[in-house]
Symmetry: C2
Subunit: 395 residues, 2 copies
C-alpha cells in the first residue's frame, strides 16, 4: 500500500511555485519582457570560467575509469582537505579533512547534520522567517521543529522568545545567516549572545546543544556588513555550506558539512554522516564535480550585481514609503506588505501589474513579501514604477 | 546528544572493505602487480566517448547560468521522456515521462521506491544472496527486511521458502537480477512464477504488493542468457536502474526509478518520490549529468570483457574442481568455498596467495565467495594458478 503521508503531500503545492508557474504562463502569453519575475532564488551570474575549464580538463585529460569511479562515502580526501584548508585560511579555523563531509549541497548537509545530533522525539529550534524546507528536513528525523517568532524590526534573533522556547528536549538550533528571505546577516553581537546563551543552557540541561548553521549565502555579503564566521563563536557547531549561490551552481548539488574541530565528537559525527547516507540512499556528490570544485574553492562568481540591485531597490522602496529592513547580504529583500494579508497583496501585484513577488507566509512571517533580486539590473529599474503603483493602490 | 544508533554503526566496518583495504595496503608493500584483487565491483572499461563529448559540449556551448540551474525535483522533462522512450523501444513498454523519476543511481532509486510503498512496521522480502546495503535501505523506512534463503543449486528464487515468508504484512518484494553476487539472471520461468504468486497473494491479502527490481546490471548479460524485462510481467513493479555499470559511471550517481504504467498509482508514486526527496535532503541528480546521459541512453561501454573473463574463470574453476553456478550476467561469480567458513577461506587466499576474494557471509549466503572480475583479462589468467593452489590446500 502506498505511503499515505507522502501521498497527501503531493496535493499540496508550494505557494512560491504557484507564483512562479503563474509568471511562466503569463510570460508565454504576453512576452517574458513584460513580466517582472522576482519569485525565485536562482543565481543570475555565470560560474567562473575556471570551474568550466577544470571540468573540461578533467573530462578530456583523465582516465575515464578513474575519473568516474566511486568516491569514498565521505568524499575525496583531497577535496575534504582543500575545503578544510580554505576555511582555515579564510576564517582562522583549524579544520582537518576528517571534519569535512562532502554533500549534495546544503539540503544534503542539513539533512545529515540533523540526523547526526537529533532523533525521534527530540526538538529543534529555528527562527522565523525561515526557509520552508526546514520543516521536512526536521520532520524526516522524527524530531519536532519549534519556531521562534521573528523580530520584525531587525530580523536579528528574538532572544526573549528564544529563552522561552529553550527546554531540555532541544538538541539543536538551526540558523540561516545571511538569511533567506530577509537578507539579514546575524551580527557579531547576535552570534556572541547566542553562543553565550547556548553554553549556559548546555550547562543547565547537562547535555550538548548543537548549532547547525545553514550558510549558502555566506559569500554574498554587502559592503560594510558585519559578517562573523559563526562556527568560530561556538564549539558544538556544524556548518552546512553549498556552492549553489556563491558559484552559481544550484543544479550541480555540491556542498559540505564542516564540524567544528572544537566539538569533542567532531570526527565521529562525520563518520556517522557516512553511515546515515546508507539509510537515505544518498551517497556523496558526484566524483567529477568534487574534483572540479577543489580547484575553485576560494573563488566566487561576480556577485556585485546583487549588491547593486539591493542598493537600487532599498533606496527606491524606502523613498516610495515601503518599510524595509536593509539586507546585509543574499539576493533577497523582505519588505512589509501594505495589507496584513500578504498573499492577497502578492496576487494583486501579479495580476494587476505583472509584478511577481511572494508572500512571507511561506516563511512563517506573515505581513511581509519577498523580492528575489537575482535578476538583471534593468529588470529592477523597470520594476520600480510598478512597486510605486502597487504602493499607491493601498495608500 | 549524538544519535547512538548511527554512532554504534561507525565502529562496524564492512567485511568487503576490510579485504579491499588489506589489498591496497599489501599492494603498496609488494607492488600492485603482485596482488590479484577481485574484491570490488568497480567497472574496468571506459564510458563511451560520446558521453564525454556530450559533457564537454554542454560545458562549452551552453549558457552556464541555465546549464547549472536547478533541475525540477523529478528531473528534467526531456531526460525523463528520453528514458521512457528508450525503455519503450527496447522492451515494448509504454512508459511516459510522468512514470520516470531521476535519481542518484540505484541507491537513490531503491530508497525512494521503498519509502513510496512501505512505512514503519511493514515488511519487505528479499532473497539471499543479496547486496548488503539492502539492510539500511529497508531499515531507513522503518520496515522489517525478511530474507528468503538462497537456492544454492541455481540461485533462482526459492519458491517454497518465499511462500512460507509471504504474509499480509508484506508490502514489497525487492529483487536484484542480474544478481550481485551470484551473477545469476532470473529466467522468464522464474519471473512468470513470481508474478503469478504475487498476483494471487494480492488477491488473498486484499492489498497491493509491489515488486521493486534493482537492475544496475541489466545491460551486462552474457551470450545466450534468457533475460526478461521484469516489469513487463507484473503491474505493480518499480524498476530501479543505475548507469553506474552499463556506462561505467559509478561515481557520477545517475539513475532512475521507472514505475510501471500498468500500476494504477504509477504517476502518483512518482510525485510522492519528489516529496520524499525533501525529507532526506536528497534532491535529484545534477543538471549537467542528466542532460549528458540523455544523449547516450541506448549506448553501453564495451562490456564484452566481462563475458570473456566469465568464460575463462568458469571454465578453469570448474576444471580445477570448484562448484560454481555459471553466471548469466554481471561481473561477479559466486563459487562454493572449500570449507564452510568462507571468511577463513578468503583470508587464507589473501594472506597466503595475495588473491583477494570476499566471503559470501556479507551477502547472507555463507559457504560461498564472490569473485569480482571487472579487471583486465590478464589478471584473470594470471590468477588461475592461484585458484588452483587454493583448491589444493583444501583437497
Amino acid at each position: 500500500m502506498i505511503n499515505e503521508m507522502f501521498k497527501d503531500m503531493t496535493g499540496k503545492g508550494s505557494v512560491i511555485r504557484e507564483f512562479f508557474t503563474y509568471a511562466n504562463k503569463k510570460a508565454a502569453e504576453i512576452g517574458a519582457e513584460n513580466i517582472f519575475n522576482f519569485s525565485i532564488g536562482n543565481p543570475s551570474v555565470p560560474v567562473p570560467q575556471e570551474f568550466t575549464d577544470a571540468m573540461v580538463d578533467l573530462l578530456q585529460n583523465s582516465d575515464p575509469v578513474k575519473l568516474h569511479g566511486y568516491s569514498p562515502s565521505l568524499g575525496f580526501d583531497s577535496t575534504r582537505k582543500a575545503v578544510a584548508d580554505s576555511l582555515n585560511k579564510r576564517f582562522g579555523m583549524n579544520y582537518t579533512a576528517d571534519e569535512i563531509f562532502m554533500t549534495s549541497a546544503a539540503a544534503g548537509a542539513i539533512a545529515h547534520a540533523l540526523r547526526c545530533v537529533v532523533k525521534d522525539g527530540d526538538e529543534v529550534i529555528t527562527f522565523a522567517p525561515y526557509f520552508p524546507e526546514y520543516v521536512p528536513y526536521v520532520e524526516g528525523t522524527g524530531a519536532k521543529l519549534t519556531i521562534v517568532p521573528a523580530d520584525i524590526d531587525t530580523f536579528q534573533i528574538n532572544f526573549a522568545e528564544l529563552e522561552k522556547a529553550l527546554n531540555p528536549n532541544v538538541q539543536a538550533i538551526l540558523i540561516n545567516s545571511p538569511n533567506n528571505p530577509s537578507g539579514i546577516v546575524y551580527s557579531t553581537e547576535t552570534i556572541e549572545k547566542l553562543a553565550k546563551l547556548l553554553y549556559a543552557k548546555q550547562e543547565e540541561f547537562g547535555h550538548d546543544i548543537y548549532l547547525i548553521t545553514d550558510e549558502p549565502y555566506r559569500e554574498i555579503v554587502f559592503d560594510g556588513t558585519d559578517s562573523p564566521f559563526i562556527s568560530s563563536f561556538y564549539d558544538n557547531s556544524i556548518c552546512c555550506y553549498s556552492f549553489s549561490k556563491s558559484l552559481s551552481l544550484p543544479g550541480e548539488r555540491i556542498g559540505y558539512m564542516a564540524v567544528n574541530p572544537a566539538c569533542k565528537d567532531a570526527k565521529l559525527i562525520v563518520l556517522m554522516a557516512g553511515q546515515i547516507s546508507r539509510f537515505t540512499g544518498h551517497n556523496c556528490p558526484p566524483s567529477l564535480v568534487q574534483l572540479a570544485i577543489e580547484k575553485v574553492l576560494d573563488m566566487t562568481s561576480d556577485l556585485s550585481i546583487y549588491n547593486k540591485n539591493k542598493d537600487i531597490l532599498y533606496k527606491e522602496l524606502t523613498r516610495i514609503g515601503y518599510h524595509v529592513v536593509e539586507p546585509g547580504g543574499t539576493f533577497y529583500m523582505f519588505p512589509r506588505s501594505l495589507t496584513p494579508d500578504a498573499n492577497e497583496f502578492c496576487w494583486k501585484a501579479a495580476k494587476e501589474l505583472n509584478l511577481i513577488i511572494v508572500p512571507g507566509d511561506s516563511f512563517n512571517c506573515p505581513g511581509h513579501f519577498r523580492i528575489s533580486y537575482c535578476v538583471p539590473t534593468e529588470q529592477v529599474e523597470k520594476a520600480i514604477p510598478l512597486f510605486e503603483k502597487l504602493y499607491n493602490m493601498y495608500k
